[in-house]
């Protein structure tokens, strides 16, 4: 549960760009970006697993960096470019990582999946040919209780192969 106090300051208006669209968030400055995106923009693909930056289920990209949106105050999103799971596919065309997760069994219950996909996509944008060890490090902030990670590693590495074949 959010722990904000009742005697809160006024809400502020925050302008940012989310999944390629301009967006305005109206919230208390220290409200969690996680809640603002879920509640005001209905981006419910962002999940809350722990609320303290441990599990990574709420991972989003902010100005190209992977962040836990449960730890980001709304005020900090002013002027930011944000990508959530809803902005990863190109319309109905899935990203290679999304497709590979389906094909290789990288998702089970699915609750860590959006954050996991953003972490993997973020990795591939910085490092197009990661080793398995690099994949492990990049995903270390995203907890999964179902898969034992094995099929997630396979998925990410398979996505690299697909992307290379395409390019």
């Amino acid at each position: 549960m959010p722990r904000a106090k009742r005697s809160m300051p006024e809400k502020v208006s925050v302008q940012c760009r989310v999944n390629g669209h301009d967006a305005t968030l109206l919230d208390f400055p220290m409200a969690r970006l996680l809640d603002a995106l879920r509640e005001q923009l209905s981006l419910t693909g962002i999940k809350e697993g722990c609320g303290e930056g441990e599990c990574g289920a709420c991972s989003i990209e902010m100005d190209g960096r992977l962040v836990n949106s449960c730890l980001v105050p709304v005020a900090q999103a002013e002027g930011a470019t944000i990508r959530t799971i809803e902005g990863v596919a190109d319309g109905e065309q899935l990203h290679e990582v999304q497709q590979a997760i389906i094909t290789h069994g990288g998702a089970q219950c699915g609750i860590c999946t959006p954050g996991m996909i953003l972490a993997a996509v973020n990795l591939l944008e910085h490092n197009g040919r990661p080793t398995e060890a690099e994949v492990r490090v990049a995903l270390a902030g995203n907890l999964c209780r179902c898969t034992g990670y094995t099929k997630i590693f396979e998925s990410v590495l398979a996505a690299v192969t697909v992307a290379e074949a395409r390019d």
Partner: protein, 746 residues
């Protein structure tokens, strides 16, 4: 005929929704006018409730408050028994027990209000250990603190122990473990006198929740509706507890007249909901000079926490699995589940078996040392074979050859060569490496006559377009129910898997196919889906709309003609007791399970003797599970289970203070990350099981049984330290290493 889908890795049916973020979990749902609910819980473990004070400065008139006296029906979460209240009324029996419920439209305010409620509780002495409970230091549950006790007797254990050349004793313990599904528990409820009660939630067993709500509200069954939303992991943790949170949300909705959403945050979820039962097992084993086990005397105790919940059933599975896949003429198992003032322990994948299997597989490595045999040689001389009997007297009819399975696991892991090489390389290094294994079995489905009593039903419906709808209360929570049910139904009808839809579990629309637990969904309910699908086909054949020789392209037309003439085309199938399965509940003897999964797991570890840190470097999981319906999903079950087993063995330590979990955060309750899991190689042996769909058996719980003992056996191989308790955290191992060094110096 289309290409059969069973045996192929059909992609997860709901995969696209999950990778795009469109899958709808309970917290993603909003209803107009919805309030947020919160729970005021006891901070102390045992006491008498004297009063409730609502602190200053909050608009209490705007808040909905519920206490025990607002419950329309019975103040109890009905499951096996009715001892657990929905809200504590006079006595509090564990910390985090719910006393007051609050709801308001502002979720910030509700959190402030929760903190402003003061419970006046007169403290009573509490019980926090198995020994204190057994000694009846305080009587906290009925006459003697015992929820259930069981005994298994085979042969004459005392005589066999008296004659055995070796008698080896040992005591082993396992700690509580949190299921730690990444989606916390949650529920949304609507409730009023006119329409009854509807809940939408994250849950495994819709009809458990249904039964509990009917009793709580004293409403007829048709006035209760339970809908499962996409569920972000369960592992047993969403087997019984969702009834509690559904009850709480529904009471608030009933009183406020508004929909109420209740979502636990991680801290509340970890502190208040169930965990794996802590256990203590004592073994006394008689062995002949040539390594034949002639007597197993086993004493097994579970800490059940404050209320019964599912403890008797967990005890049952743990007891039956305590003697493992071995042939022994004389077995005595005494077991009991006892009450303590911890929050009730409950279902967690494996359900008692990981506890008793850990003890047995650690103990057999000790037995091997005493007898002077290699651990594998001891197992080889004692594995049960077809035609021999398990501890409960069940004759093994499966064609399993555990020696062969063990050899396969050894081949894949390079066990023998590594064991030699590591022993050679370890001296002189501060990093010690070791390799160990465990062999085990896991029964699929409810124990004994349990499936007869459940009498589960599944239904299959065909539409006039020739699409198939599978209706069952068995839930998808990541393990692949949607996909394997589709594969089973598709193959029964000779259709493509894409023609099958598995209907969202909703008690208003699906029959009761029983709880989604006990590795029963594929084997038991899958078989019902197969039979129901064949029933649909039979209707078409009998009425001449379809001929056996027709291809799948004729199916849709046949369905259309049938429906035009007769109306809905449906068939259901109910579980019927097997004439070959006999179980005597009074003597705990007979066919405990219709079929078993069989496993041999091999772990290689490295132990840093300076830091006490253990890493699992390599892992081989070999098992026989009947026909594999979907190889990728099945391997995913094993890999995920092994990772949870790594946590159970090495990391996941629940820290209690005065009956409260004090490390109820992901920051300090440590589960394996991507950096902690070893490469896991999964091998399936497939011996088709006649009563399973297309020959499949159960699979889900199996990997939790063998992982922890394989790892700890490897730690002993690496260090020589005899570890008898999990989790083996670095602190504990360092102490043991220090003690061993001092012993050498002395």
């Amino acid at each position: 005929m289309t290409n059969p889908s069973i045996g192929r890795s059909i992609p997860r049916k709901e995969g696209r929704e999950k990778v795009t973020g469109r899958a709808r979990y309970v917290d993603d749902m909003t209803l107009p006018g919805m309030l947020f609910g919160a729970t005021v819980r006891s901070p102390i473990a045992r006491g008498r409730l004297r009063g409730i004070r609502f602190g200053e400065g909050l608009p209490w008139n705007e808040l909905t408050t519920v206490t025990a006296k607002d419950i329309p029906g019975k103040n109890s979460i009905v499951l096996l028994e009715d001892d657990q209240p929905c809200l504590a009324a006079e006595l509090v029996n564990h910390a985090e027990e719910a006393v007051v419920l609050l709801a308001h439209r502002d979720k910030y305010l509700i959190e402030e209000a929760r903190r402003a409620v003061q419970l006046e509780i007169e403290r009573l002495p509490a019980i926090f250990s198995i020994d204190d409970s057994l000694a009846c230091k305080e009587i906290i549950w009925r006459a003697d603190n015992v929820f259930k006790s069981l005994r298994v007797d085979k042969g004459d254990v005392d005589a066999a122990l008296a004659e055995a050349e070796f008698v080896v004793e040992g005591e082993y313990e396992t700690g509580a473990q949190e299921q730690l599904y990444i989606e916390p528990q949650g529920m949304i409820a609507e409730a009023n006198g006119r329409d009854g009660v509807t809940v939408w939630g994250s849950l495994q067993c819709p009809y458990y929740v249904h039964k509990a709500l009917a009793a709580l509200f004293a409403l007829p069954a048709e006035k209760i509706r339970v809908v499962q939303m996409e569920t972000g992991g369960g592992f047993g943790g969403k087997e019984e507890y969702p009834s509690m949170i559904a009850a709480h949300a529904a009471l608030l909705a009933w009183k406020s007249g508004r929909p109420v959403k209740m979502i636990y945050d991680r801290a509340e979820d970890m502190a208040a909901t169930t965990k794996r039962h802590p256990s203590r097992t004592r073994h006394r084993t008689g062995v002949t000079r040539d390594g034949k086990i002639v007597a197993m005397d086993i004493d097994f105790t579970l800490d059940g926490g404050a209320y019964m919940t599912l403890s008797p059933v967990v005890l049952s599975r743990g007891t039956i699995h305590a003697a493992g896949p071995y042939d022994c003429a004389n077995v005595r198992i005494r077991s009991r589940a006892v009450a303590t003032n911890f929050p009730p322990h409950g279902a967690f994948r494996g359900f008692g078996a990981p506890q008793s299997v850990f003890a047995l597989e650690r103990h057999l490595d000790q037995v091997a040392k005493v007898v002077g045999l290699a651990p594998d040689e001891l197992r080889r001389r004692n594995f049960v074979r077809e035609g021999q009997t398990l501890a409960v007297g069940q004759v093994v009819h499966e064609k399993i050859d555990m020696n062969e399975l063990m050899e396969r696991a050894f081949e894949l892991s390079g066990y023998r060569a590594k064991r030699e090489r590591l022993a050679r390389e370890n001296p002189g290094s501060t990093i010690k490496r070791g390799i160990g294994f465990a062999s085990f079995l896991h029964g699929a489905g409810f124990t004994g006559s349990g499936e007869d009593y459940l009498a589960s039903v599944a239904e299959v419906e065909a539409t006039s377009e020739g699409k198939i709808r599978v209706c069952a209360a068995s839930t998808e929570m990541g393990q692949g129910t949607n996909t394997i049910f589709s594969q089973i139904a598709a193959d029964a009808l000779g259709l493509e898997c894409s023609s099958v839809e598995v209907v969202q579990p909703d008690t208003a629309h699906v029959p009761n196919s029983g709880p989604t637990v006990a590795s029963r969904t594929c084997m038991i309910v899958g078989k019902l889906v197969e039979s129901a699908a064949l029933g649909v086909k039979q209707s078409l054949l009998q009425n001449g709309f379809l001929r056996e020789e027709d291809g799948h392209d004729a199916f849709a037309g046949a369905c259309r003609l049938y429906i035009e003439k007769f109306g809905p085309l449906r068939a259901s199938s109910r579980y019927s007791p097997s004439p070959e399965i006999h179980w005597d509940d009074a003597h705990y003897r007979g066919d405990a399970y219709g079929a078993y999964g069989w496993g041999v797991y091999v772990a290689e570890v490295s132990v840093d003797t300076l830091t006490g840190e253990t890493r699992v470097e390599d892992f081989v999981a070999a098992q026989e599970v009947g026909r594999v319906i979907n190889p990728v999903l099945a391997a995913g079950q094993i890999e995920g289970g092994v990772a949870q087993g790594v946590g159970f063995a090495l990391y996941e330590n629940v820290v209690w203070r005065d009956g409260r979990m004090i490390n109820n955060q992901m920051t300090n309750y440590i589960m394996p990350t991507s950096m902690d899991v070893p490469p896991i190689r999964v091998y399936f042996e497939e011996l088709p099981y006649a009563r399973g769909p297309a020959g499949a058996k159960g699979i889900g719980e199996l990997p939790l049984d063998g992982t922890a003992p394989a790892i700890i056996n490897a730690v002993e191989n690496a260090t020589g330290i005899v570890v008898r308790r999990v989790p083996l955290t670095p602190e504990i191992l360092l102490d043991a290493l220090d003690a061993a060094r001092e012993k050498v110096h002395a």
